[in-house]
Symmetry: C2
Subunit: 455 residues, 2 copies
């Protein structure tokens, strides 16, 4: 009797340990094989594969190994996909990660008022690498929470230390990232950017580099220096273009044109106030566009002519635009992209539709970055950057048209798992990381930064 009781107890303990291990899914953090089994919907974003019901997604190492029914589970950690949607992770095509430190700043101002109150005073202020790290660290965890697997971070790089702290936070995030290093004519910049490329970017398979600059009549030398550096390092230029109604007067297009910067791969953010001829010119040079509807609403920038961009086959993705927007919800960003066009035109067929915006937020963003062969769809062989969304939630159920519901109903809290390069960064609804510590550090940094803003 005692022996049977002992065996029963032993079995129960082993069982419990097993259940706990399955439940926490710690194994999935370290790569290896992961099988999402019987996902109620797999939105591959790959036209050849389409959307599957009751199907599996197998991750092997850093890759999507297979998508289909009844895939072998041998050696894989299993996530139950019942009631869940698997789709590619989001590409946030434009943001400024450090700007979580200025959330809620000057919400009564348009772009230039906001820049003057919350950003430009930091140029020349002793903001530090620790400040940049604290802000960017918070933002990366927050981006992961809403399903972002690739982030394009336009870093103001106020000083070398600030840029390094910003970049370290991106590296530590384990997200795929594009670091757009704001260059210009300051002497320290070009050597530092070359060093960063060699020592940090080229050693990290998740990392990519761009050169950030601001085209304007008062910054011709800065744009020319940036374009030279971009060509030397063979990386794209990344600019804010025709964002506010005041921008057309600053000859942004002329400055880019004369610097020879209008060329394939140039990433232009916003492009709200472009004429038809300017859109033609951008299209002719295969310039890509980051559309940031939530930012354009917050800063009163206007409504970008996204249908006109589509008509010209311009590659367009969407971005959250960090502190310029405050709202770290990619689902909200998608429905704003749809709804803003609809409210303006009173035409529900206007581009983008829900299906269009799902593509913009995934494969479209990948194309804009030239990374469409690596990410953006659940195509076997591509990198395992994906998210698992719980559709059995009060704000999402019942199932009527899940693809549309992804755009209109979903909230970041519904994102249960996020994988980047096969590594789980959000597990069973919880972002991996010491969030309490990260929040406290960001508060301390925000309190320091506020002093330099004089607010």
């Amino acid at each position: 009797m005692a022996k049977r009781l002992f065996l029963l107890t032993l079995t129960l303990i082993i069982g419990c340990v097993f259940v706990v291990r399955l439940g926490t899914g710690d194994e999935a953090a370290s790569g290896g094989k992961t099988l999402v089994r019987n996902a109620s919907m797999v939105l591959t974003m790959d036209p050849a594969l389409g959307t599957l019901e009751d199907a599996d997604v197998l991750i092997d190492g850093d890759r999507v190994a297979a998508v289909g029914k009844g895939l072998p589970a041998s050696g894989a950690r299993v996530i139950d996909g019942k009631g869940k949607i698997v789709m590619p992770g989001f590409v946030d095509l434009h943001t400024h990660l450090w700007q979580s430190l200025i959330r809620g700043c000057a919400t009564d101002k348009e772009l230039n008022g906001w820049l003057g109150g919350c950003v430009l005073p930091l140029q020349g202020s002793p903001v530090s690498g620790a400040d940049a790290y604290a802000g960017a660290r918070l933002s990366t965890l927050d981006a992961i929470a809403t399903g972002v697997t690739t982030v394009t971070d336009w870093s103001h790089a106020f000083n070398p230390d600030f840029a390094r702290g910003n970049l370290k936070a991106l590296t530590d995030s384990k997200q795929r990232f594009v670091f757009a290093f704001m260059a210009g004519t300051a002497e320290w910049i070009a050597p530092e950017v070359r060093r960063v490329k060699k020592d940090v970017i080229d050693r990290n398979p998740l990392a990519h580099l761009q050169i950030g600059t601001h085209p304007a009549g008062w910054n011709v030398a800065g744009v020319e220096a940036s374009e030279r550096l971009a060509k030397e390092l063979d990386v794209p230029l990344n600019v804010h273009l025709l964002e506010s109604k005041a921008d057309p007067a600053t000859d942004q297009m002329g400055v880019l044109r004369r610097a020879g910067a209008l060329r394939p791969g140039l990433l232009a953010n916003h492009v709200v106030h472009a004429t038809d001829a300017e859109l033609d010119e951008l299209a002719a040079h295969d310039v890509r566009i980051a559309h940031n509807p939530l930012s354009n609403m917050r800063l009163a920038s206007g409504v970008a002519k996204v249908p006109d961009m589509k008509a010209r086959n311009i590659k367009v993705g969407i971005g959250l635009d960090g502190g310029t927007n405050d709202t770290s919800d990619m689902f909200n960003d998608m429905r704003a992209a749809v709804g803003l066009q609809r409210a303006q035109s009173a035409d529900p067929s206007r581009y983008p539709t829900p299906a269009d915006v799902l593509r913009m937020a995934t494969l479209g963003g990948a194309e804009a970055l030239g990374l469409e062969h690596e990410i953006g769809s659940l195509t076997p062989g591509k990198k395992a950057d994906l998210q698992v969304i719980n559709a059995q939630a009060l704000n999402f159920a019942p199932k009527v048209d899940w693809a549309a519901q992804l755009v209109f109903n979903t909230q970041p809290v519904n994102v249960q798992w996020v994988f980047v390069n096969g590594v789980a960064l959000k597990k069973d609804g919880k972002v991996v990381g010491d969030t309490e510590r990260v929040i406290a550090d960001a508060q301390a940094a925000a309190d320091r930064v506020r002093k330099y803003l004089g607010r």
Copy 2:
């Protein structure tokens, strides 16, 4: 030794039980006294009280007993307010709760296409009280999750059973509610509405009645019958007005005018396509307006002239508009109200500002319903309808300008506690209720309803 061990164990057990009781806060569900202590911010929405820092809010029974510093905790359950914001619960001024059953339906259509595909076929179909209950039950829990304490539910009342199921879900929700019963010329309606008022509404201190109808040239008799019933029962009429660009051609204003329905208390939803003269007329008759920006974006209805309403001192609140919108996020609704005006006008000072929209979503909605003496602000003596929001979250921290961050940064997951009439309906981040069961029931009902839609 054994005795000391026993005492130690007993102490530990008692301690654990105590901690668990504090943690779950079950006591707060049953009314009594609750003290939110040292809330980092108390946004009272009462001009005389303003916004307080590091202050307490005391709930006693169904009322706000006091707001201030160092309030006595004796006999009260205590919620730690550090890092949290206390504010009035939201008034969702316009929704259709049953429409969670058609989430994601016809997302490619404007209002009339969507109505034709997803709503009108149910008129005359054997949709049941169980269907209505399942949809409305899901929606009420979902509304509570996003901080809604008062909901105005325009019920299509397809048949008596459907209306009863709808109403029962509202009653079971323990939310404060206004039930807008769609009336008209059908013989069963007037007696049923009278019975509902006497047997259900008048017996429930949380319940209010309105009469819903649709003004249009083809529904003059329906509007007249509804207005007669509203006058007989001394309750407001509730209509959809000038929502789509097709509506002005249906003589909505003329029908209301001739029926004598343009009078104080009339609640008009949307009012997107009103002329200046029509807004003048609505203002002159103290007609109230529910603005539903997320719905207007989803259905391509247009941009309501909210600044022009404000200029005429029209009472305006905001609504989620249920399945007409799909997005059950009041914070998203608030920032859409701000951002839509800004994107259209390129003017960041345009009404509503973040402060304005916080008022619209609380006290403004209460005024539109004539309930401003009961709810809408944390004024001592008013009903204890309030929410506690956790600002120490990845999507919200750090603290820069919390009032603005409530509009731009907040997600429903940040709402930790929701009290209606002093009773906790969301506790420590969890909605009270069997959510799994509710979701399963809604799915079953959605599957039944879909058959009648022929989709």
